[in-house]
Symmetry: C2
Subunit: 249 residues, 2 copies
Amino acid sequence: MSNRRLFLKQSALSIGATLASGSLLKAEGLTAKKSGIEIKANDTILFQGDSITDASRKRDTALPNDIAGMGRGYAMIAASVLLNKFAEKNLKIYNRGISGNKVPQLDARWQADCLDLKPNILSILVGVNDYWHKRNGKYEGSAESYREQYRKLLDRTLLEFPNVKLIIGEPFGVKNVKHVDDSWFPEFAQYQQAARDIAKEYKATLIPYQSIFDEAEKRNSGAYWTSDGVHTTLGGANLMAESWLATVR
Amino acid sequence: MSNRRLFLKQSALSIGATLASGSLLKAEGLTAKKSGIEIKANDTILFQGDSITDASRKRDTALPNDIAGMGRGYAMIAASVLLNKFAEKNLKIYNRGISGNKVPQLDARWQADCLDLKPNILSILVGVNDYWHKRNGKYEGSAESYREQYRKLLDRTLLEFPNVKLIIGEPFGVKNVKHVDDSWFPEFAQYQQAARDIAKEYKATLIPYQSIFDEAEKRNSGAYWTSDGVHTTLGGANLMAESWLATVR
């Protein structure tokens, strides 16, 4: 670092205005990024959602940062990075995703599984079951009811924690892998649109998982990233964790 | 470092040409590093060891890249990064660590759990039980027998796969966390020395986990990184995975 500063000082004569303005540093990504949600000391971070978040977590461990309680998915990987990178911040990280959940199930357990934990940062990924269970005739809902229920859940949360920082994951389906095919669209896209709209309306950070998986298919097949179009493989879990981590600093 | 100094010297004279040639990027370490083991297309990577590697993996899944079969430790986290970052390389990654193993137990299952998998990159972390079980009176061994058994295991491996790339993890103990205290030393240090010597002798990449955990204690307590002085927490697992990943490119 001191070498670098020395260099900047010495070469300012010849390189002139570029260095003086700091734009060379910026161009090279050498200045700290100021974008993204700032992780603060003693923050509580909560991952909420369905099976993709749950990822076979051990549900009888209520403690934060519990390795078995974090599951085998993106939440576990992201949490491990946070706990290492921000070790001095004494973070409390919880995974409270539960397989099969739609927004109404989140709402039913929101007091114990969200509000009581007093999150500073709340990450939610929900929606694929709201569509899927309706499609299978197990549930009477629609993209509109999903949108309204989701908004009420956030209203309820913000009433108690007006300063909570929200991260909303776009529900996704990877086509031509087991459960997911063209017949999911355009109806499923309405649920995705609702999640994106809600993120904007509530000033949440959106993670556009559908585009992220679409883009990843340029590097390997959909079956490489998800086991059934919905649930992640190990590579897919890391892809999601990487995207999640890009939202914080 | 020498590149940077060289650049400092050159820069005052010909910064324009330097920028154009891209050597500024190189001097600042912004181009791909050429150090470390190169991950190649279709490589098979095997994590071997004891409980720290095992990390509650599901043992009835023999397939590579299996999310449950990878456990909840550093191997799982490192594998997830590799499968994302090198998605186009179609890697096969296995975890075959088993809790409680010492070198003799690795040797007993080496044909099925190493040689038959035909690894291109073989990562081994073993030694804490070789010391610990002896200490507890459950095993008659010594740092010297550990060293000789370990060398034979590697000789056996190299006889079949002379080009396998070896990564050897230094066994570690985090003092004043449950099982580990001053009484482990200096005897345990002889096992650590043996692992370091073997890495050098066999031209393996050494991961100096003891120093890595010692250094991490500047950021948070030993109990933050390991649950009992030996087994990792979520943050500790990421610390190990990060160190492991730094050995490859």
